[in-house]
Every structure is written in C-alpha cells, then in structure tokens.
C-alpha cells in the first residue's frame, strides 16, 4: 500500500528530475564554459543532495518496477512474498544507492 504510492512519488520525482539530465546534456553540447558552470552547481551541497535523492528515486523505482513485472506474471501475490518484495525494494534501493555513490567517490572524488 505504502510502497505503491512511493512508486508513484519516485516516478513523478524522476519525471521532473529528467530536467537534470537534459540540463547536463545541453551544457555538454553548448561548450566547456557552460559545462563547467553547470558542474559547479551539481558540486554544491544542495546539488549533491538532489543528485543523491535522484539516485535513490531511480533505484527504488527500478526495483519497484521489477516487482510490478513479477506481479504482471500473476506470481508473488501471497502476503509473505508481497512483504518480502516490499522490504527488498526498500533495502535494495538503499544498498544500490550507497554502492553507486561509493563508486562515484572512487572515480571523481565525490
């Protein structure tokens, strides 16, 4: 129940978050000066918090989507499995977000 509405909320967040990807791509297509300017925004603390939230929303929506694909096959409707998939989505999204940001820290220094 809660997870269903979270799937919608993360979906809506990713919807508007697509502007971030567009901004980055347009900056890259514009030139070095504007690209560096945009990167400096992403490097601020609010910028990083937004990107961290975007990463988590993406991972949560991805795992939640997989859960829905499993349900589409008609499987996984007993309460034990529903609970397992719900908690798995939450835990998995946090673990994947942490792994991605650890990898990012390794590549770019955070």
């Amino acid at each position: 129940m809660v997870m269903s509405i979270v799937h919608r909320i993360t979906g809506a967040a990713l919807y508007f978050g697509s502007l971030l990807l567009v901004w980055w791509l347009i900056a890259a297509a514009t030139g070095p000066d504007y690209y560096n300017y945009v990167l400096s925004w992403f490097a601020t603390w609010p910028g990083k918090v937004i990107l961290l939230g975007y990463t988590w929303a993406l991972m949560h929506h991805m795992l939640g989507g997989l859960r829905h694909l499993i349900w589409d096959t008609g499987a996984g409707y007993d309460l034990r499995t529903v609970d397992l998939l719900s908690w798995g989505t939450l835990a998995g999204s946090l673990i994947l977000t942490a792994l991605i940001w650890m990898a990012a820290a390794g590549f770019g220094g955070g």
Binding site: S18, L25, A28, A29, G31, P32, Y35, D72, F107, G108
Partner: protein, 126 residues
C-alpha cells in the same frame, strides 16, 4: 460494406478506444529503461571528474550515443504514460485534466528532443 458487428469493433478496445496499448507500452519501456538507466548510471559514474573534452570524445562513440538516444525515447514514452495515469487518477475536472494531459505530452516531447539534439550535436562533433 463491413460485415462486422459493432461489438466486434469495440471488443478489447475499451472506452478509451486504444485498448491495452498504454499498459503494454509501459511494460516494454520499463524493461528497456531497466537496462538503459543502468547504462546511464554507469556512464555518469565513470564520467565524474572528466573535463568537457573527454565528454565530447566519449559521445562520439556510437556505443555511448545510441543507448543514450534509446533512453531519451524509451524514458520519455514511459514517463509520459506514467504521468498520464497519475493525472487521470487525481485530476477530476474535465477542463483541467485535458490541459494537464496536453502539458504532459509537451513536456515529454520537449525533454526527448532536448536530449536527442544534445546527444546528436556532441556525437557529430559540432
């Protein structure tokens, strides 16, 4: 003259007249996005700290540019259908709903075009 009964025309299409198209397209793009979004995350992580020249160089590679273009299409189709579902569930005034659905389509197309334009510009080395 058609020998089909009215029932035959309506069958499995429902009141929206396009049947389960959205349902199916949302699943197809979901599966595509699963792989394409993971690709995007990998790309962004590996590009962290890279300067503009490196980004430009990377985007000339078709193996980078084509998945990004695929994501631009699959992602915006998926988010348009998803937002349409949300609008239809929560916006009940007929006029407001039509406006919201239209804005939703415009937004999705604008995002898609901006992504595609930028990726192509970088890919073709302009």
């Amino acid at each position: 003259m058609s020998m089909r009964t009215p029932l035959k025309t309506a069958r499995s299409l429902g009141s929206a007249k396009d049947g389960a198209d959205h349902f199916w397209m949302q699943r197809v793009t979901a599966v595509a996005n699963l792989f394409l979004a993971l690709f995007l995350v990998w790309l962004l992580v590996t590009l962290l700290g890279a300067d503009h020249a490196t980004i430009k160089q990377k985007l000339t590679n078709p193996l980078i540019a084509i998945p990004l273009l695929a994501l631009a299409i699959s992602g915006t189709v998926h988010m348009r259908i998803g937002m349409q579902t949300i609008i239809e569930d929560y916006v009940h005034g007929e006029g407001l709903k039509v406006v919201a659905l239209m804005l939703n389509t415009f937004f999705a197309i604008l995002i898609a075009l901006a992504c595609i334009f930028s990726v192509l510009k970088l890919s073709f080395g302009a």
